[in-house]
């Protein structure tokens, strides 16, 4: 009798809505516990065919670039304002002259470029010349229509540079090869391979914070002064267009 009653109870339990309610509750708990992960995964699978394609991704990236450029411009303006306040050289991107390379001698006894803008366009001796990648040289002489650019790699050509990470100054000296020598002014420079070399932010001759290259080799024990070998980020052998920075003339 008791056994039969038990069977009946179990049968009723199976037939009743208890399980439905239990499963629904468990599902709700699961959804709450996983914070709707299943739904989101399902949604993403369903959405995959209509997700933004390559073209749309490029639009988004373009938008990001525009935003970054605006931010960069604002920061440069801010930087210029502060530099003016400190009476340091300004880096004004609006005052650039674009010029094409008309003749190149980047490996010979004299390492130079001839460009198609000269005194008539406002180019003056000593102005900085940059290419894609950073600083490539300085204007050595001008004619009314052309200018001669002495490359950083030209033997004996010296410009001031500094290591951004360690804030140490040095003299970047052309040695004829693609890798100029950065001669430090003092010992214990703590320079490492891979450090970025730029123009000094306090320079009065060159525009500040222009990328020059990356340290490839360091010799701290060299005499009379330690030096580093720098790989230039801009390659004069491959550059067809350069920009002359007007504001350091």
């Amino acid at each position: 009798m008791i056994k039969a009653r038990g069977n009946i109870g179990f049968h009723l339990l199976l037939k009743s809505r208890f399980w439905v309610i239990f499963l629904f509750g468990a599902l709700l708990f699961g959804i709450r516990w996983t914070k709707g992960a299943g739904y989101l995964d399902l949604y993403s699978i369903l959405l995959k065919p209509i997700l933004p394609g390559t073209a749309q991704r490029e639009w988004i990236k373009e938008g990001e670039n525009i935003e970054r450029n605006i931010r960069l411009k604002l920061l440069e303006e801010d930087n210029n304002r502060l530099r003016r306040a400190l009476a340091l050289k300004e880096f004004n991107s609006n005052q650039r002259i674009s010029a094409a390379v008309i003749s190149r001698s980047s490996r010979n006894w004299w390492q130079l470029l001839e460009i198609n803008k000269g005194a008539k366009d406002g180019v003056v001796k000593g102005q900085t010349v940059i290419g894609p990648g950073g600083l490539i040289g300085l204007v050595d002489s001008t004619t009314p229509l052309t200018s001669r650019v002495r490359l950083l790699t030209d033997p004996g050509h010296q410009v001031g540079a500094w290591i951004y990470r360690t804030k140490r100054h040095g003299i970047l000296t052309g040695m004829g090869t693609n890798r100029p020598k950065l001669i430090f002014l003092n010992k214990n420079n703590l320079v490492k391979i891979g450090d970025a070399v730029t123009t000094s932010p306090a320079s009065t001759l060159l525009p500040p914070n222009l990328t020059i290259g990356i340290v490839q080799y360091v010799n701290e024990k060299a005499l009379p002064s330690p030096y580093a070998i720098v790989q230039l980020t801009a390659s004069p052998e491959a550059i067809d267009w350069v920009q002359i920075l007007r504001n350091n003339g």
Binding site: R104, R107, W109, P155, G156, M175, G176
Partner: protein, 166 residues
């Protein structure tokens, strides 16, 4: 005849030399180094003319070439000496238009010009004195000697024959 020679040399120095240096076509280069054009142009003129004329041509050529470089080291001293040597050689030797003879003289001439610029640079820039045998200098001298040695037998011997015909 002498007038024709003079006109020819003036044409080559004033028109061709700057054009060769400025255009410097890539197909006429070895490792990015173009031939030593002043040597190629001066060699036949010096061989066919007396020393004083060769020396004046060397100075004019040197001034011209120097105006296309960054003005530190100069071509003039080496070209001046070479023109005197070549002129003396030309006065005492009859069969100078031989193909290989001209090439060999151009090779030695280019090596001398290269060494002269190398020494001048070392004297001028104390930084370069730390290591005298720079890989760069060796590279430029060797490449320039090879390409000049290849071009000179054609160009200089043709120029020398033209001078002789005139």
């Amino acid at each position: 005849m002498a007038k024709n020679n003079k006109q020819l040399s003036i044409f080559f120095i004033i028109i061709c030399l700057p054009a060769f240096i400025i255009i410097s076509p890539d197909w006429l280069k070895i490792n990015g180094i173009s031939p030593c054009w002043p040597v190629i142009l001066l060699l036949p003129f010096s061989l066919k003319n007396p020393p004083w004329r060769a020396a004046s041509a060397a100075i004019i050529t040197g001034i011209f070439v120097d105006s296309f470089t960054i003005s530190d080291a100069s071509y003039i001293p080496s070209l001046f000496l070479l023109s005197l040597v070549w002129s003396q050689y030309g006065l005492h030797n009859k069969k100078i238009e031989l193909f290989l003879n001209i090439g060999l003289m151009a090779i030695f001439g280019t090596a001398f010009v290269g060494l002269s610029i190398w020494v001048q640079k070392i004297i001028m820039y104390s930084v370069l004195r730390n290591n005298w045998f720079h890989s760069w200098s060796m590279y430029v001298v060797i490449s320039e000697v090879i390409i000049t040695g290849l071009v000179a037998p054609f160009f200089s011997s043709w120029l020398l024959l033209t001078y002789k015909k005139n």
